[in-house]
C-alpha cells in the first residue's frame, strides 16, 4: 500500500493489461479453458457411468445365475 511498485510487479500488471486488450484476450483464453474443462469433465463422467453400468449388469447376471441354479 502506497509503496512504489517494484519492477517485477509492474511487468505482471502490464502482462495482465495486454496493451489495453485485456478483456478480449482473457475472455478468449478463459472461454477456451472453460470449454476444454467441460469436455474433460464429460469424458471423466462418461467413463464413470460406463463402469457403473458394467458393474450393474454383472450384478444382475450373477443374481439371475444363482436363481436359475436353484
Amino acid at each position: 500500500m502506497g509503496a512504489k511498485p517494484v519492477a517485477g510487479e509492474q511487468t505482471v500488471k502490464e502482462f495482465f493489461a495486454m496493451g489495453g486488450y485485456a478483456f478480449y484476450v482473457w475472455m478468449s483464453f478463459g472461454l477456451t479453458f472453460v470449454v476444454m474443462a467441460a469436455i474433460t469433465l464429460s469424458t471423466v463422467l462418461q467413463r464413470k457411468q460406463a463402469i457403473r453400468l458394467v458393474k450393474r449388469k454383472a450384478q444382475i447376471n450373477s443374481n439371475s445365475d444363482s436363481v436359475s441354479g436353484q
Binding site: Y24, V25, L31
Partner: protein
C-alpha cells in the same frame, strides 16, 4: 494391411490399444499446451499492427482447425461405417460430434472477441464467418439426427449420410477467404512458401495446434472406450476385466 485394419476394428483390441497410449498422449498434450501458452502469451513479441490483441490467435486458430479436422474425422468414419458397417467407426464419429461442435463454438466466439477490437464489429455476414456458422449447424444437425430416429442403427446411418453431404462445406470454409472478398484475413500459415507470420509467433501457434489435436485425441479415445464398455457390457472379455478389476 487388411488384417491390421480388421484387428483394430475389433472393439476389444481397440480398447486395449487406447488404454496403453492414452497416458502417454495425455502427458505430451499437457506439455505442449503448457509450453505453447507460455511462449504464446509471454515470449512471443507484440504485433506491430494489432498490439497484444493478436494473441487471441493462439486459441482462435487451433480451435478453427479442430472444428474442420473433427468434421473430417466424422465424415471419414461415416464413410467407413456406411461401406463396411464397422461399429468402431460409428462410435468414433458419435463421440467426436459434441467436441467438434464445441471447437466450432470456440472458433466463432474467440473470432468474435478478436473481431470487435480489430474490425469494430462482433459479427459480420461474410463468407468465412457464415460458412463456419453453417459448420456449427451441421454438427448440431448431426447430433439431433442421431437421436431423432427410433432405432439407433437408423439414426447412425442417417447421420452418417448427413455428415458426408456436409463435407462440401469444408473446402468452402477453407477457400472462402480467396473466393469471396471477405473481412476475414487470408490464411497466414497454410501458404508454406512464404508464411506471413514471424517464426517466434508461429512456433507457439503450432505447439498449441498440436496440443489441441492431442486433447481431442485423448478425449475421443476415452469416450470411445466408455461407449465400447457400455455396448460390450455382457461380453466375456469385459466380464473378466471386471473380475480382474482392470476396466
Amino acid at each position: 494391411m487388411f488384417q491390421w485394419f480388421h484387428r483394430l476394428a475389433s472393439l476389444k483390441n481397440f480398447y486395449r490399444l487406447a488404454e496403453i497410449i492414452t497416458p502417454w498422449l495425455t502427458v505430451i498434450c499437457a506439455g505442449l499446451l503448457a509450453v505453447g501458452l507460455y511462449r504464446g502469451l509471454v515470449v512471443a513479441p507484440t504485433d506491430y499492427e494489432q498490439g497484444e490483441s493478436y494473441r487471441i490467435i493462439y486459441v482462435h486458430v487451433p480451435s478453427a482447425w479442430m472444428s474442420m479436422f473433427i468434421y473430417m474425422v466424422i465424415a471419414f468414419c461415416s464413410a467407413i461405417y456406411l461401406i463396411w458397417k464397422m461399429k468402431l467407426a460409428d462410435i468414433v464419429a458419435q463421440v467426436s460430434a459434441p467436441m467438434g461442435a464445441a471447437f466450432t463454438f470456440l472458433a466463432l466466439s474467440t473470432g468474435s472477441l478478436w473481431g470487435k477490437p480489430m474490425w469494430g464489429t462482433w459479427w459480420e455476414w461474410d463468407a468465412r464467418l457464415t460458412s463456419e456458422l453453417i459448420l456449427l449447424f451441421l454438427y448440431i444437425g448431426y447430433m439431433a439426427l442421431r437421436n431423432a430416429l427410433d432405432s439407433p442403427a437408423a439414426g447412425a446411418k442417417a447421420a452418417a449420410i448427413l455428415a458426408l453431404v456436409g463435407v462440401v462445406n469444408i473446402p468452402i470454409i477453407h477457400y472462402s477467404v480467396e473466393w469471396w472478398n471477405t473481412l476475414h484475413q487470408p490464411a497466414s500459415i497454410t501458404k508454406f512458401d512464404t508464411p506471413s507470420i514471424h517464426i517466434s509467433m508461429l512456433i507457439p501457434l503450432l505447439l498449441m495446434a498440436l496440443g489441441f489435436k492431442l486433447f481431442y485425441l485423448v478425449n475421443m479415445l476415452s469416450k470411445t472406450r466408455s461407449v465400447i464398455l457400455e455396448r460390450e457390457a455382457s461380453t466375456s472379455w469385459v466380464r473378466s476385466r471386471l473380475q480382474e478389476n482392470k476396466l
